[in-house]
Amino acid sequence: VLQCVIQSFMMTTLLLTATEKPLWDKLPAKLREGWEVVEERGAFRDSPERRTMRLQLVHLRDPKLKIFLEKARAATSVDALATLVLSMDLREVMDADLAELFFALGPALLAKVMSSLLQSARTDSDIEGIAALTVIRNALYSSTTASP
C-alpha cells in the first residue's frame, strides 16, 4: 500500500474504491491517459457519535482560523455566513491545521467529496488534485484500522 501511495504522489497512480472506479471509467480516455488505478480497500463505518468526537478533538493552531470562527459566530444572517464560508482560502491554512480539518471530516465524507470531483473532472490538474486527496484518504483509512 505504501508503494501505491508513493506512486500516487508521483502522479501516476490513483487509489480509488470499487464505487469510484466506474466514475473514473466514464471520464474521457484522454483524461485517463497515463494514470494507473489501484483499488482502495480501506473502509470505515462512520457514525454521528464518531463525527462528534472527532470535532471535539480538533486542535487548530492558526490564529486566522480562530478569527474565522469568531466571524462565523458573529454572523447575523444566512448571507453573511454563506459568504464567509465561501470566502475561506485554504492557501492560508498551515499543513498541521489542514491535517486536523481532514481528520475531522473523516474518510467517509471525504470519499463523498471525491465522488463528486470525479464526476466533474475536466483537466489533468483536476486528476492531480484528486490523486492528492486519495493519498490523504488512504492515511485516514489506515489510521482507523491499524493496531494501537
Partner: protein
C-alpha cells in the same frame, strides 16, 4: 471542579450562543481536556490513560464520583453512557495519533507536504473541498437554525451540498447545542501534535 460560569472561557461545558448568552451543553463529552479539568489531572496523563482499557476504566470510575456535579452541569448526562463515550474518545484519540504520526513519518513527510500544497491549489478551483473542510471547522462553533439555513443556502449554490448537510446532521450539534471547538480555547494545555 470548575464553576459553570467559567466553563465558557474554557469551552468545557458551555459556549456563547449567537445572542451572547451562555448555552449549556446538555451532554458531557469526555474529551481529554474536559476530563483533565474535572479530575484535576494533567492532560497528558489523561491521554495516556485513555489509550488503555485499564486507564479508561479508572477514568470512568473517577468521573462517576462527580456524577452529581456533572448532572447539574449537563442536564442530559447519563452515567450509563459515560463508559461508552470514554471508550470512543480513547479510540478516536488513538486514530488521530496514528494519522498524525503517519503523515509526519520520515518516509511520508515530504509526500504529504506536496499533498497539502496540491490540495490548497485544488481547493481554490473546486470549492467543494474547501466548503467541506470549512463546514467541519465551523460545525463545532456555529449551531442552530442559522447554520442550518446557511448550509441550505450553500446547497442551493451547489457547493458540497450533500456532504455538508450530512456532516451537520451526523453530529449532535443542532440537537444538543453542543458546540465550541476546544482547540480554540485551550491550545496552551494541549501537547503538540494533538
Amino acid at each position: 471542579m470548575p464553576e459553570a460560569s467559567t466553563m465558557d472561557s474554557t469551552g468545557a461545558a458551555g459556549d456563547r450562543g449567537r445572542s451572547g448568552q451562555i448555552e449549556l451543553l446538555r451532554e458531557f463529552i469526555p474529551t481529554p481536556e474536559r476530563v483533565s479539568q474535572y479530575l484535576e489531572m494533567n492532560i497528558e496523563e489523561v491521554m495516556v490513560q485513555m489509550k488503555s482499557v485499564e486507564g479508561r476504566e479508572e477514568l470512568y470510575t473517577n468521573l462517576l464520583e462527580h456524577q452529581q456535579d456533572l448532572q447539574q452541569l449537563y442536564p442530559d448526562f447519563r452515567p450509563e453512557r459515560l463508559k461508552q463515550h470514554i471508550d470512543l474518545a480513547g479510540e478516536t484519540l488513538a486514530q488521530k495519533e496514528r494519522f498524525l504520526r503517519d503523515i509526519e513519518s520520515p518516509e511520508k513527510k515530504g509526500m504529504f507536504r506536496r499533498a497539502w500544497d496540491s490540495v490548497r491549489g485544488f481547493a481554490k478551483k473546486h470549492p467543494v473541498v474547501a466548503t467541506a473542510l470549512v463546514a467541519a471547522l465551523i460545525a463545532g462553533g456555529v449551531g442552530g437554525a442559522l447554520y442550518l439555513s446557511g448550509t441550505l443556502q450553500l446547497a442551493q449554490a451547489g457547493v458540497a451540498a450533500e456532504t455538508v448537510k450530512e456532516f451537520i446532521e451526523g453530529t449532535d450539534i443542532l440537537n444538543s447545542g453542543m458546540g465550541g471547538m476546544e482547540g480554540f480555547h485551550s491550545l496552551d494545555g494541549v501537547p503538540p501534535g494533538l
